[in-house]
Amino acid sequence: MRTMAIVRRVFKQMLRDKRTLALMFLAPLLIMTLMYFLFQNNTTQVASLGVHHVDQSVVNVIDTKNVTIHHYDSSQARKMIKQHDLDGYLTQKNGQLTITYSNSNPTNTSLIKASLQSGLVKLKMKTLVTVTKKQRAALESQQAALKKLTAAQTQATVTKLKTAIAQAQARGDQATAEKLQKQLKQATATTSSSTQSAKATSYTTKSHYIYGSSDSTFFENFSPAFLGFFVFFFVFLISGVSLLNERTTGTLSRLLATPIRRSEIIMGYLIGYGGFAIIQTVLTVVFTIVVFKIHLVGSIWLVFLTNLLLALVALTLGIFISTFTNSEFQMIQFIPLIVVPQIFFAGLVPVDGMASWLQAIAHIMPLYYGANALTAVVTKGAGLGDIGVNLLILVGFMVVLTMLNIVGMKRYRKV
């Protein structure tokens, strides 16, 4: 009853605060849209490479859509890179190619590296191909001669057999005629098969994707983790600041001068702000699925459930953190400390590859469990059984923080 009074109040206050509502509901959509276009658009990045005295054949194969070639008349790589703002510089002395990377942008460095490597492989292949072509021509002429020979032979056999068949039929010997007919077929068949074997096999690839499709982008990879992050971030901020306001304006103390239980206040907050978190989650998830056509493999209800648990953890965490702050400004100071580090462990960087102490840190981050579960559901279609442990850990976070919050309110009232 008293809890519901708090819930109603939270709803009324939120509904009147249009700015906060807009922040909570529209900001995630805006950021998701931005991310969509940022990661969706795989426009080729182009690195600039300066060359000096390099064989034209080499230049030709390096010149791909990822690398633009500029010719210069100096062998001083360092100077030229600085002067013309190049990403790399290639020089040649006899058979030795020397490349200098600017390396101010590692992506461009690797672009040139890849281009150079594949170019050289292509070059080697070309020489191989010319050699093979010559061999093939020789082979083919031999084959032609052979074929002529076989053809002549077959022709002779065929004529012989045909006359034999005609004779057998004239004699009325049906059995012999059929036998000879078979032999005739065999003789003609060998000719066709021998021509077939001369053809070279050319390979084609057909790709299958277990998760996602050939159009899968980074966005699809990251979006589940970001769905969790938005809910976490906004709920953390809004619940933390609103409880802080209650403390600084004295309404919390006033509430506690009524027979309300401390747990009833916390529960009221959980239900009230949890409700808004649900709306936010539904809106963001549906938006990404409908507008960006994100391939959702698993159940949408599991996505909602995971996000709701994340929101509740964020809520209790926000309330908990707000007890250590005296102003909104101090609350904001906790964002880089508490919220931002979590995003590193949300799956953008694979946690398995991290140093073991970093992995240990990952395991105390609620978002690590939430984002992992979300990614598993969205991209791999994980079921409740697969992500159950993660969800239980989130529940654990929530329970512990809730109890801390209830105890923490003793500061304002002894019972």
């Binding site: 008293r2 109040r9 009147r16 304006t249 004295g250 006033r254 001068a257 002894k414």
Partner: protein, 247 residues
């Protein structure tokens, strides 16, 4: 002694090294307006919070309605008006009253009636559906008082109830308080407005956490041989300082 709403015995409390309350005794019977007067920082608010059970005392006991505090259930029988207006500014006055009425377990059918009654008492009936953010300081103070009255409590604890309220309305509020007193309710009121102190039935002077003097206004004036409570206050203060100096 079922008619004593509040019995505080030897209540002491300190924050850090500062002794905020020093062995205070206070008894508030039914049907009385009890005034706590003293300069700011004297410990009035701490005493009130100790009586409400929101502040733990170092030593001594507090009983409200024959129940040892702190006790959550008893809080429903106490109307409390805090020193600062703790109101939800984005809500209307009616919504604030409804919220606290629900928290105070006012039955649903009675709630609307109680809101009208409390709002009428502080002359806010016509402004009930306005948001509190648009209220003046005096209106907020009156709304706070109305919230304290929402569950029709037998005991009212009012921390500086008339700050920022104009003289005419102050007059009205005191008339109402006296009416409430006649129905058997008791009030514990802090103030540092001396002419208000004269209206109380019984006074306690607090300074530096010590109860300097107590008694009816008339008795106090007689005791200190002065004409006004203000002079009682000044004289008692000087005597306390003199005593401290002698130590």
């Amino acid at each position: 002694m079922a008619t004593d709403y509040v019995i505080a015995k030897q209540v002491s409390k300190h924050f850090g090294h500062q002794q905020v309350l020093n062995q205070i005794d206070l008894t508030l019977p039914a049907g009385m307006i009890y005034g706590l007067i003293g300069p700011s920082g004297a410990g009035k608010t701490t005493l009130i919070k100790s009586i409400l059970g929101m502040e733990a005392v170092d030593s001594g006991t507090v009983k409200v309605m024959d129940t040892v505090m702190p006790n959550r259930a008893v809080m429903a029988q106490v109307g409390y008006m805090a020193q600062s207006d703790a109101l939800y500014e984005t809500l209307t006055a009616r919504e604030n009253l409804t919220l606290f009425g629900q928290l105070m377990s006012v039955p649903k059918i009675k709630l609307a009636q109680m809101i009208d009654y409390a709002a009428g008492l502080v002359d806010l009936t016509s402004q009930l559906d306005k948001r509190v953010s648009g209220y003046s300081g005096g209106m907020k103070r009156r709304l706070s008082l109305a919230i304290a009255l929402i569950q029709d409590p037998q005991l009212l604890i009012l921390d500086e109830p008339t700050v920022g309220i104009d003289p005419e309305l102050r007059q009205q509020i005191w008339t109402e308080l006296n009416k409430l007193k006649d129905t058997g309710k008791s009030m514990l009121v802090t103030t540092h407005v001396m002419d208000e102190a004269e209206r109380c039935d019984y006074l306690m002077l607090i300074r530096h956490g010590i109860a300097l003097a107590e008694g009816t206004p008339a008795a106090l004036k007689q005791q200190y041989a002065v004409d006004t409570i203000e002079q009682v206050f000044l004289k008692a203060g000087r005597m306390q300082d003199a005593n401290d100096g002698n130590r």
